[in-house]
Amino acid sequence: MKRNPLILFFVAALVGVMLFAGLRNARNNRNGPVNGQIMGNIAPDFELQSLEGKNLKLSSLRGKAVLLNFWATYCGPCKIEMPWFVEMQKEYGPQGFQIVGVAMDDASPEDIAKFAKDMGVNYPILVGKESVGVSYGGVSVLPTTFFLDRDGKVMFREFGLQSRSVFVDHIKQALNQGKAVQARK
């Protein structure tokens, strides 16, 4: 049987690429569930204290589409998103949408609260813990934003500042996905 050298080369190269990607994934996964492991699965649950001193458990928001935003007071790009989030909470909140901010910096809760107040934040801000960040893949980039459907499944994840239209699109899909899931029940 005659073997086409071009096909052999292509197959060998493809295997090489897959091995390369696999090794990268193995390396990247050392800090937690990233690279797809978290995508499509139920978001890791946590319970954190809000700036008002109340505990909020993520799973208590089941039934709502959730935008989970990891941010910090020192993060300039995070500051750009926050006014958008305020408007999005107002617009989509009545449809069953909830934004949750998780502050991942070392600033005191008082400083975080002052910052949030200055930004006019109208959604809960939780004081983050490293263990929560690790469960979401390390959160080594701020902002990092997850979009959960009404069942708590992670639909999208965005690193860094994105355009407002990307967020709106993800929110609409998260709201719709939840409805579709609920309709099946």
Binding site: Y74, G76, D106, G138, S140, V141, P143
Partner: protein, 180 residues
Amino acid sequence: MKRNLICALLILLAKASAQDDVGLGPKGPVVKMAPAPTVAVVQGKSATETLSFKIANGFHINSNRPKSEYLIPTALKVGATTDIVIGRITYPEGKDMTFAFSPDEKLNVYAGDFTVDVLVRPLHTVTPGKYIVRGTLKFQACDNTACYPPKSLPISFDVRITKAASGHSRNPRQSPHVHH
């Protein structure tokens, strides 16, 4: 057909390479310190050590005096030594820059190369010899679309202390061992 196969392969390779890299933060260190020159100083006198740092392309860090109380300033912390007094640490002026994420607000940052001067003054009783001074540079980096948690870069430099011309007696209890 060959061209199509190569294109497909390149796309696969690019996808494999780019997959979620952004979520892991910068690939390498954002700030590196150049090898620090040994600073020579006479017992009881002062000298300045200039530390040179390089910030990776596409990144910036806050200056020592950022314009917002929420921003984390770049700060050098030098470990305490018993024989060498660490004096004034002088930071360069930052550059006022605007970024895509902050078009209306100028941030005072370092980008590219910058230096930090450290004044050292060994006590006049210190035994002449070579000493190592250690510390950390704390900084918080961002690029155009994201920020990264604060980091501490270990730094060190050598101080070679020579004997004063006259007038000071040597402290026999001290030796020129490396001090941390």
